[in-house]
């Protein structure tokens, strides 16, 4: 098999600092060039970050390759380089064939234009020929399920309709190489399932696909091989299940505690600073291994440097395969939420009590989130800590078999003879 993509020693450097507001004004540029003239000092090294460096890999024609990694590991930068949105700083990549990139759905959608007009515009932006769009128009409309509103400006669409239409156009792109970033993370569950189905069709049509996602079950369903990126480098390239296991358990302590160091840069989360996340067993000890038959607690400790109104902190619980078990917030009780509308500056611990006989055996991943509903998300870490649930002694464990399912509650059973 020949290669569709060949990447050699690719690197991308960004200059940070010096541009605190995100863009430069003429005055800054004049001032810094004057400074350079008088001192001849190059940009200090701390202002330079390599988002990606020494990346080499190849993708065979027809292969579906997954790319996973934490936020900031360089996934998006890699896709941007391969789709030619931005130029690399060093190295090279060779791509054989037409590339279609889906870094976002609905790129170029104009709110004033109708659904029909946006299909044409968006299709052209994504690289489809006009004839191609015309021929697929009905298919796209059917997939999006918005036929009734196709001549309505999309600014009148609900967000769900908008996303469906946007994805429908993107899904009918037919380049030889498809580069996809996290586009499945939108819309409701039903639509996500549909998107995933469409993506797996694409993957099985013999097209070369690079697929970035945080959704481990999507990665496992669509790809056979996966690259794990860490701090701008390739940490591992392996069959997907190995890569996912590596990724999910990587950088996680096995002590039942995860601490965020004060030296890390939390300027983006300010005034919220995470301190630690702990799993505590029924005897009050930090624990990596919890008996399914025992209750346990999860503590999230954090500091507020200013008071925050309507803050809620919460937990995501997922399996190491990425299946979400539950989401819970410390303000889920409406009365309590009324009572503590504002949290003043200081250190806090939000503690969640898990009852006995809740989870099935296996390795679980805890994520944390601190946000104000629909206003601002201060801090999110979806893979903050892992722990193991030991099913010993849980209901039915006298049969030494692995039970399927995420939860293993003690349910009441009775049986009697059915009255005829």
């Amino acid at each position: 098999m020949s290669d569709a993509i060949r990447v050699e020693d690719l690197g991308k450097r960004y200059q940070i600092g010096g541009m605190p507001s995100g863009y430069r004004t003429l005055r800054d540029a004049l001032a810094s060039s004057l400074r350079r003239l008088s001192h001849r000092d190059p940009t200090p090294p701390k202002d330079i970050i390599w988002a990606l460096r020494h990346i080499s890999f190849n993708v065979e024609r027809g292969q579906v390759l997954g790319i996973i990694g934490r936020n900031g590991a360089g996934k998006s930068t890699l896709l941007k380089l391969l789709s030619r949105v931005t130029d690399p700083t060093e190295g090279r990549a060779e791509i054989y064939g037409r590339v279609g990139s889906l870094l976002e759905v609905g790129t170029g959608f104009h709110p004033e234009l109708t659904g029909r007009e946006n299909i044409y515009l968006n299709g052209a932006i994504l690289g489809m020929k006009r004839a191609e769009i015309e021929c697929k128009f009905d298919e796209i409309v059917d997939f999006s399920e918005v036929r009734k509103f196709i001549d309505t400006p999309v600014k009148r669409y609900s967000s769900g309709m908008y996303l469906r239409l946007a994805f429908a156009v993107a899904a009918h792109l037919e380049p030889e190489i498809l580069v996809v970033d996290e586009v499945l993370a939108v819309g409701d569950a039903e639509f996500q399932r549909k998107c995933l189905g469409k993506m797996s069709d694409v993957a099985h049509q013999g097209r070369t696909v690079l697929f970035v996602s945080h959704n481990m079950s999507a990665i496992m369903r669509l790809t056979e091989e996966t690259i794990v990126l860490e701090k701008g480098q390739i940490a591992l390239r392996a069959p997907t299940h190995e890569a996912v296991d590596y990724y999910m358990t990587r950088e996680m302590t096995r002590t039942g505690e995860r601490c965020w160091s004060a030296s890390d840069d939390y300027s983006t989360t300010s005034p919220f600073h995470p301190i630690a996340l702990r799993v505590v067993d029924s005897a009050g000890r930090l624990a990596d291994r919890i008996l399914s038959t025992q209750p346990f607690e999860v503590e999230f400790e954090y500091e507020l440097q200013e008071s925050i109104t309507a803050l809620r902190t919460g937990l995501y619980l997922a399996t190491s395969r990425g299946e979400v078990v539950l989401t819970s917030f410390d303000t889920d009780d409406p009365q309590r939420f009324e009572r503590i509308t504002e949290r003043s500056p200081g250190r806090y611990i939000s503690r969640c009590h898990f009852p006995a006989n809740l989870l099935n055996g296996g390795r679980f991943v805890l994520g944390v989130n601190a946000s104000t509903f629909r206003i601002r998300s201060y801090f999110t870490d979806e893979h903050a800590l892992t722990f193991t649930i030991d099913p010993t002694g849980s209901p039915g464990s006298h049969w030494p078999e692995r039970r399927r399912g995420l939860i293993r509650p003690a349910l009441e059973w009775d049986f009697s003879e059915a009255a005829l």
Partner: protein, 286 residues
């Protein structure tokens, strides 16, 4: 036949794209731009469609804008200041000067902002970036055509007969577009880095209008070196030539127009070079 078609398709599949750091000056890839002509068409079409959406008067604004300016100019510069209009009826004189000027002014203003407003495109999809300012400039021609119909009506009303030289009109139109694109490329690329451009542009355009014979006749400028220096502003040649082509007033632009053409080409080429050089950082900086 079939075989050639197949091998063509194969070529398309095997088409190699090499991604590597670009350095220094480079030329805009016109062949690639041509391949993206459908996208340019759709961008122009979008700009036209969207321009007067959710306005009460809609496309009438394309006519009203120059028309109202014409009324003001007629009252102030002809009525009060008694400026000479080369013997043409003042409303026709001002309106015919305003048409190419508004085409240029709108083109520059829209193109200058186009990359910043289109930043979501730039950071998500690849295509030749020049398509965006190019489409902004081209979209203005529809407004121009609408206003031109009004000019024809005015000429009939005032009994102004078009001259033989009317065939040169497309040339002046093209010259206005080239100049607008050249300036638009400079401003749009600068705007990505320096948002100061957004504040400078209105003043620049205002000053530029008074440096062009929109409200007065270029015959006011003394012959000789002064006239040649005046031609360094390509819009001087455009506006004067435009009037000459349809009204036959003023003088046939000779020396003036050649300098204007050279200057317009210089603006376009330097704009393209600068744009191409800055292009690779757009997605990171915008």
């Amino acid at each position: 036949m079939d075989q050639t078609k197949q091998s063509l398709e194969k070529q398309e599949i095997d088409k190699l794209t090499v991604i590597r750091p670009s350095r220094g000056w480079a030329w805009i890839d016109l062949r690639e731009l041509w391949r993206y002509r459908e996208l340019i068409y759709f961008l122009v079409w979008r700009d036209i469609k969207v321009r007067y959406k959710q306005t009460l008067l809609g496309a009438a604004w394309a006519i009203l804008k120059p028309f109202l300016s014409m009324v003001i100019f007629t009252v102030i510069f002809s009525g009060l200041a008694k400026l000479d209009t080369d013997g043409a009826p003042p409303p026709v004189f001002y309106f015919s000067g305003l048409l190419p000027w508004v085409l240029f002014q709108d083109g520059v203003a829209k193109a200058g902002n186009s990359l910043v407003t289109g930043s979501s495109l730039i950071t998500k999809v690849y295509f030749p970036r020049i398509a965006i300012p190019l489409a902004s400039v081209m979209a203005g021609t529809v407004d121009f055509i609408l206003a031109f119909l009004v000019l024809i009506g005015m000429m009939i009303y005032y009994g102004v007969r078009p001259m033989q030289a009317i065939w040169t009109l497309p040339l002046f139109l093209l010259l206005a577009l080239v100049t607008a694109l050249g300036v638009g490329l400079w401003l749009s690329a600068l705007n990505v880095q320096y948002r100061d451009v957004g504040y400078v542009t209105p003043f620049l355009l205002q000053a530029w209008m008074y440096a062009s014979p929109v409200v007065y006749s270029a015959t006011l400028i003394p012959e000789g070196w002064a006239r040649i220096a005046y031609g360094l502003n390509p819009m001087a040649g455009v506006v004067q030539g435009f009037r000459w082509a349809i009204l036959g007033v003023g003088e046939p632009p000779s020396g003036l127009i050649i300098i204007s053409i050279l200057m317009a080409i210089f603006l376009l080429i330097s704009g393209m070079l600068y744009f191409k050089r800055m292009e690779r950082t757009f997605a990171d900086v915008v």
